[in-house]
Amino acid sequence: MSTHPMVPGEPTKTGTTMLETATAAVQKFGPINGVHQHLCAFHFYGHDMTRQVEAHHFCGHQNDEMRQCLIYDSPEADARLIGVEYIVSENLFMTLPDAEKKMWHSHEYEVKSGVLFLPGVPGAIQRQDLAKVAQTYGKTIHFWQVDRGDNLPLGLPQVMMALTHVEKRFNVNFDKERENRAYMKGLEHGIHPLANAGGKGLKTELREVDCHGGAGAHATPRVFV
């Protein structure tokens, strides 16, 4: 019965649906049950600011300082899972190795400009959480480039970035919300110079490597000269 306008394939067969109804009833979905929040924002590609993607985050807290999010291209039942984002407090970000920091982006601007929001939640309530998000960093990887028309998740994972300064691209009026969020504090130590790839772009490349053997393999012989 379920077919998909954007993803190739036959409609799901009745037998398959019935099986899934059975498994859904008896299995344990622990981590999925921990996902409790829908956050909407925009990401752009780490090497191409002109390609921007609407990102619907569905987030669960590991604790007060760390969230893990599934990113979809829409909030609907047939939404495509296009990536993941991890969100950490400023304190946790500071513990990351320097080489790692470049893959993380700050959220201060996105929150304070109103671009990042919780759909369906009244302003006063969402601002309580967003005030925290304004003081976090995120690491976003996308696997499915729906914005270029891919109907399957092709190619390499992409490190994504978020808006960190004024971008006039969107014609949506965020002015009112920006006023409402003016009170929010940003990062205690300011935006770390290594975050947001230090203002540069980031791209991913594939490299072939020797794959060291698994359980049954012998160690690769090494020659020392």
Binding site: G9, D129, K139, W144, T204, G214, G216
Partner: protein, 237 residues
């Protein structure tokens, strides 16, 4: 004051206060969360790092089927509520796989062996109920990117995304016995016995040699994240 010391395997950070829990619960009730309600199956299986097949992990996939040929699965390191999101796997039918370009196909792995050998299980689901679904999955291919390498002790998601491959009958693709035993004991099952029940499961009509690239080429893949020029202006058409 933030706690940045994590207990073994535990994500560092302060716990949520009661107020936080109430706020998030309240907001949750106002949001529709539709995509999250589409997960109907839990699969527990194993995967190996493509660039280092000595490193093997137990995985927990939650399956969202978009149609008969395509599933998308967030992957966690356990089925507990505190399970860590370690990556995403996409699963496609052999029909869709055959239509992919060869360079794309080499990033995908087959599922036939891990299903047939009882490594892939549906916890809490009787084998007779699971069987028709397994016949379908046995003919599929998967593409699995790992974004949090908890097996090497990372308490936060550090490093480049890693391509994962599936267990195979080849020597290098075999799952280490202690890892398998630990999983089987946790769920009170026996992979060997389950494998005996799966003798008549068949794989794809044609197993494409571009999948499971390492078998034929002895090579895996690594991802490098490099600094690049940022494109800022769309060229005028």
């Amino acid at each position: 004051m933030a706690s940045t010391e994590g207990r073994e395997g535990q994500t560092p950070g302060e716990g949520m206060t009661m107020k936080d829990h109430l706020l998030t619960k309240g907001a949750e009730m106002l949001q529709s969360m539709k995509p999250i309600k589409q997960y109907k199956q839990h699969v527990c299986t194993f995967a190996l790092y493509s660039h280092d097949m000595n490193r093997q992990i137990e995985t927990h996939h939650f399956v969202h089927r978009l149609n008969e040929d395509f599933c998308q699965c967030p992957v966690y390191d356990s089925d507990d509520r505190a399970g860590r999101l370690i990556g995403v796997e996409y699963i496609i039918s052999d029909r869709l796989f055959e239509a992919l370009p060869p360079d794309e196909q080499k990033l995908w792995h087959s599922h036939y062996f891990e299903i047939k050998s009882g490594l892939w299980v549906n916890p809490r689901v009787p084998e007779t109920v699971a069987k028709p679904g397994l016949d379908i999955f046995a003919k599929t291919y998967g593409k699995f990117w790992c974004t949090w390498q908890t097996d090497r002790g990372d308490l936060l998601p550090i490093g480049e995304p890693a391509l994962m491959v599936s267990p195979q009958g080849e020597v290098a693709g075999m799952v280490k016995a202690p890892l398998l035993q630990q999983r089987d004991e946790k769920y009170a099952l026996s992979s060997t016995k389950i494998s005996d029940l799966r003798v008549d499961i068949t794989g794809p009509t044609f197993k494409n040699p571009n999948a499971d690239y390492w078998i034929k080429h002895g090579k895996g893949f690594a991802i490098d994240v490099l600094t690049a020029e940022m494109k800022k202006i769309t060229p005028f058409p």
